[in-house]
């Protein structure tokens, strides 16, 4: 039977109903594959959307979409998007000693990368020096080891600090590492307004997901607010916090949970900064975000678009921000580390390309593409290059960078954006009812939600309801790996420890002692810690010396072994 011709008196709903019955008949002949059609996060999704579906979720062009560069920024934060400036291609790097990482930095800059991004090793992330007994076996393994200003200076040797933007992924002792960066810039005579970059400095998501903490929650949040307050006054172009969903997602959260918990963390920093007496428009423009880009193409695009819309409304309507700069959610994104497989690792190149494309179509401002070998070890130079080239192919060859919000107006994408937004707002409401995100984290609420999602996904993998190619389907006998991986041996630990010993013997012990006493005093009095910590690192007090001083006052955080 031929479908009836469109009739002027029929509404879309009428025609949809007719089409649905023909679809049902057709499906009898050609049944659907026996799987549940859901997103990676297990969200039920429709086969097809029409204007009626948009109406059913209350979609309104003016209110929900508008134009790029304007409220509510669903379509991106810039007017001309990637025609003006491509997203920043920022590959995260850091391993072994500062000298080794410095070489990788220079290689990436030579190859056309436009910003630096520093990964620190576990001891540094936990506020321990390389010679601490707790650092055993971990020095330089997951990132670069930085125990003092001397290491920081070595790490950025020959790199023009006033010209590159630097991102530093550190949270627990972020205030100390930032102090080192500021001290180094000061020593090199770089004007404060030319110091540009981003400190991750998002401690709440550490308790939620990444689990690299030092102090209990309240003093740790105080340190974050100290850096916001100091940065706002003195370093106007430094992004003080990169509110991060990446780790939340990697720990097992769904896309909606990632979005909701990240925005809720951001809300907590905004509220605490306002409590400190700051004006929202003074500090909010320097808050930035960092999300995961996972496998589910449209879910991810919807997530980025919803993120910008929710944040713009929160900032304007809830916190009374008047500056458009405060309303804009600017975000970095990284392709999903958890999606990479050790099995048939070349497939990871494809996964990364698909994810990167979703990030770009979602309008991110900066992007890291993972290397194919990152599930095995830290990436080799060659693997990093393929990852960077993936971004360059998308930017220069695919043509997608010609358009602002190319998927805007797609019935499906607008429907999904609305759905992700609505579900995220439900979580935010629940967190409000708990007394805000700090309370929720103290009660372990987001942690438990994420644990449940991670377990749910693992069960789905086991039942093959979700497929990982090469892992639970399409497995093949593998030959020995086709490429080399980077191996960090333990000699780094020894060399770094010797360097630190030499530093300690040549610095002025009296100055170090006095500087650490000032840190202690500032902490006891509840003052902003930034000036005294800059003083301490400038005379080469080590990371751990400063952190131990603060641990002495604040204590340490402990998590119970719940699962």
């Amino acid at each position: 039977m031929m479908p009836a011709m469109a009739n002027d008196t029929k509404t879309i709903a009428d025609r949809r109903k007719e089409w649905d019955s023909r679809l049902a008949a057709n499906t009898k002949k050609f049944p659907e594959r026996p799987v549940r059609f859901t997103t990676l996060s297990d969200m039920e999704v429709p086969l097809l959307c029409t204007p009626d579906d948009l109406e059913s979720v209350g979609f309104d062009f003016e209110k929900d979409l508008g134009f790029p560069g304007e409220f509510p920024y669903t379509r991106g934060v810039q007017y001309n998007m990637y025609r003006g400036k491509l997203w920043t291609m920022r590959q995260f790097a850091g391993f072994s000693s500062p000298t080794e990482t410095n070489k990788r930095f220079k290689l990436l800059l030579e190859q056309g990368q436009t910003g630096l991004s520093t990964a620190f090793d576990m001891p540094t992330l936990m506020g321990y020096d390389c010679d601490s007994p707790k650092a055993k076996g971990e020095v330089g393994k997951c990132g670069v080891s930085v125990s003092s200003l001397e290491d920081m200076e070595e790490l950025f040797e020959g790199i023009p600090l006033g010209e590159v933007t630097t991102s530093m992924t550190i949270n627990g002792p972020a205030i100390v590492i930032l102090a080192m960066y500021y001290a180094m810039a000061e020593k090199r005579g770089v004007p404060k307004e030319k110091v540009k970059g981003t400190l991750q400095n998002d401690i709440l998501k550490e308790y939620i997901a990444q689990k690299e903490w030092l102090f209990p929650i309240a003093p740790a949040v105080k340190c974050v607010i100290d850096t916001i307050e100091y940065g706002t006054k003195h370093y106007p172009n430094w992004n003080t916090v990169s509110i991060s969903g990446y780790h939340i997602r990697e720990a097992g959260a769904t896309a909606v949970q990632e979005l909701a918990f990240t925005l809720a963390d951001g809300m907590a920093y905004v509220e605490e900064s306002i409590k400190r007496g700051m004006d929202v428009d003074e500090f909010a423009p320097r808050l930035s975000f960092f999300f995961d880009v996972h496998n589910d193409f449209f879910e991810e695009i919807a997530k980025f678009r919803a993120a910008r819309r929710i944040w713009a409304h929160l900032m304007r309507d809830r916190y009374g921000a008047k500056s458009p700069k405060s309303w804009m959610l600017r975000t970095h994104a990284q392709t999903a580390g958890v999606s990479l497989t050790a099995q048939q690792p070349m497939n990871n190149v494809v996964r990364v390309a698909v994810q990167a494309m979703a990030g770009v179509l979602g309008g991110v401002n900066s992007l890291h593409t993972n290397s194919m070998d990152e599930t095995l070890a830290l990436p080799t130079d060659e693997a990093v290059m393929v990852a960077l080239r993936t971004q360059q192919v998308i930017a220069e060859e695919s043509g997608v960078a010609n358009y602002a919000d190319p998927l805007g107006g797609s019935y499906l994408v607008e429907y999904l954006t609305k759905k992700v937004e609505t579900e995220a707002l439900e979580y935010i409401k629940k967190i409000d009812e708990m007394g805000g995100m700090i309370k929720a984290v103290e009660n372990g609420y987001p942690q438990a939600e994420i644990g449940n999602s991670a377990y749910h996904f693992q069960r789905q993998l086991e039942k093959k309801e979700k497929v990982m190619v090469g892992v639970n389907r399409y497995q093949s006998e593998e030959k020995k790996r086709a490429f080399e991986t980077l191996y960090i041996d333990r000699s780094v630990e020894k060399r770094q420890s010797e360097r630190l010993k030499a530093l300690k013997s040549k610095r002025d012990p009296l100055k170090v002692q006095q500087a650490l006493s000032s840190v202690k005093l500032a902490a006891e009095k509840g003052e902003n810690l930034m000036p005294s910590i800059i003083g301490a690192v400038s005379v080469y007090s080590t990371l751990q010396e400063v952190c131990d001083t603060l641990r002495g006052i604040y204590g340490e955080y402990r998590e119970e072994g719940k699962f």
Binding site: M122, P123, L125, M126, Y128, K134, A135, K136, G137, E138, K141, C142, E206, Q210, K211, E212, E250, A251, G252, V338, T341, A342, Q343, T375, L376, A377, G451, A454, Y455, Q458, L461, E462, M468, V471, N472, R481, T485, Y487, I488, R490, R558, E559, E560, G561, K562, F563
Partner: protein, 141 residues
């Protein structure tokens, strides 16, 4: 003699310690495995994060565990795993089955085995496979 597949009540006598040594905070895998083993019927104890080898050894002795599953994703396994194994063997836990999970490069498998690790499980391993392995190899004391 061990059967290949145990029933939940048979598993209930097997105590498994899931341990996170070192500074590594990646606990998604450890928690998922702890939960899956508990759901399968084992008695599971999870140490929580940031444990020194000494803390893990003490927990193993106190609970007199049949199995230790050590989860490491930071690259510190060559330093930390042998220390835990020496500690528990020194304390008389001679038959405790030691399993390691996480991001472990193939070239390190042999060293870990030589140190007394029974099996290394890397990402992508089915939970069922780990459960079966424990069924088969946990000491029958």
């Amino acid at each position: 003699m061990n059967q290949t597949v145990l029933t939940a009540p048979q598993r209930n006598r097997i105590r498994v310690l899931i341990a996170k040594p070192g500074l590594d905070g990646h606990d998604r895998g450890a928690k998922v495995i702890a939960r899956a083993l508990r759901d399968a019927g084992f008695e599971v104890i999870y140490t929580g994060l940031h444990q020194t080898p000494e803390m893990i050894i003490q927990a193993a002795i106190q609970e007199d565990v049949h199995v230790i599953g050590i989860s490491i994703l930071s690259g510190a396994h060559n330093a930390l795993v042998p220390e835990v194994i020496q500690g528990i063997r020194g304390a008389g836990l001679n038959d405790t089955l030691v399993l390691v999970g996480g991001i472990i490069p193939e070239e390190d498998f042999e060293g870990l085995r030589a140190a007394g690790t029974a099996m290394v499980f890397t990402p992508g391993t089915a939970l069922e496979e780990i459960i079966n392995y424990i069924d088969k190899h946990a000491p029958s004391r």
